[in-house]
């Protein structure tokens, strides 16, 4: 009995693991695109927590990534010159780092957006074609 109830559990775990791995690989590229997009649309500078909450709201309270993963991506893009940043003290905790998109960031964003649309269209066409067969 016990082994019977254990089996589907292990299978579910494996499926879960594959799903999480796939999601992580997807996020590796899309997160940077989404963050650049958010900062491009923002009228003012945003800090990490604000961005995290913005994305959470856009995702209807759920996001396909952990919000802790945003910060290292922001820092990486800032080091690459896609974003500029400024530190300002805050009342609730350590000083906040505010991010703003740079000119080269905007340029890269249009390129990435094109690449994303091409990829999405390609995947959609391929998957739908398979459905029809």
């Amino acid at each position: 009995m016990l082994s019977d109830s254990e089996k589907p559990d292990r299978q579910n775990e494996t499926i879960d693991l594959f799903l999480r791995k796939f999601q992580k690989e997807l996020n590796a590229g899309t997160l940077s695109l989404v963050l650049l997009g958010v900062l491009d649309r923002a009228k003012e500078e945003l800090y990490g927590y604000q961005i995290a909450k913005l994305l959470e709201k856009a995702g209807g309270g759920r996001t396909m990534f952990k919000q802790g993963a945003l910060y290292p991506v922001l820092r990486g893009m800032s080091a690459n010159g896609l974003l500029s940043s400024r530190v300002e003290p805050s009342t609730s905790g350590p000083p906040r780092r505010y991010y703003r998109i740079t000119g080269s960031g905007r340029l890269i964003l249009t390129k990435w957006w094109d690449a994303w649309q091409a990829t999405r269209d390609f995947v959609d066409t391929l998957m739908n074609a398979k459905d029809e067969k």
Partner: protein, 213 residues
């Protein structure tokens, strides 16, 4: 590693620190800094709920300490790869090892840093001596205290700049954010209050004595 879910901000940060143990000190500092910003904002935003309850929900929004640690480690690997100088062929003969130093770009950038640091060193020394002696001298007047705070803040910015210089010349990863130590600020504020009380006493004795004469 099976750690119980953290129930306070400090416990969360401690778990994150433990999970990142052995990583570059700069990465640990950055990760803790980011996590503290998020957690404090989250707890402050939900003031009506107890901290432990907010922290329970953190694992599904911000991520559990080990997940967050992994994100930083993954990014750091990419940063390291980007920072690293192109790999050079390691010479095998003893003579090659000795004279191969002339082919190593790292040696030239280090040499340049040595010369460069003479200029920056003179500047830092002058800055520190002027800043410290001026703050000590102006302590008698009240402007000494804000001047000292300004001096501390500027030296912090200067050390971050120095960090970036070292990173580019010597290829050693440096923190990109200042440490946030409340202790120093508390110490300065206490010092200021103590100084104010002392000044008040001195002024009082002076006035009382001159009144008696």
């Amino acid at each position: 590693m099976n750690m119980s879910a953290p129930r306070s901000i400090d416990a969360y940060l401690e778990q994150l620190r433990q999970t990142l143990h052995g990583q570059d000190a700069a990465v640990i500092q950055d990760a803790l800094y980011d996590a503290e910003e998020y957690l404090r904002a989250e707890v402050a935003g939900q003031a009506d709920r107890p901290e432990a309850e907010v922290l329970e929900a953190i694992a599904s929004s911000y991520g559990a300490p080990d997940e967050v640690a992994q994100a930083y480690i993954d990014t750091e690997i990419k940063v390291q790869a980007a920072l690293a100088a192109p790999a050079i062929r390691k010479p095998k003969t003893p003579a090659g090892r000795i004279f191969g130093i002339f082919m190593d770009p790292r040696a030239y950038s280090s040499l340049f840093y040595l010369v460069f640091s003479m200029a920056t060193g003179i500047f830092y020394f002058t800055f520190a001596v002027t800043g410290l002696s001026l703050s000590a001298g102006l302590m008698i007047l009240i402007i000494g205290i804000p001047f000292f705070l300004l001096f501390l803040a500027t030296s912090r910015v200067l050390s971050l700049v120095e960090g970036r210089i070292i990173e580019s010349f010597l290829g050693v990863r440096m923190p990109r954010r200042p440490t946030c130590d409340i202790g120093m600020l508390v110490l300065v504020m206490h010092g200021a209050r103590g100084l104010g009380t002392m000044q008040g006493r001195i002024a009082k004795t002076l006035l009382v004595e001159s009144g008696n004469d």
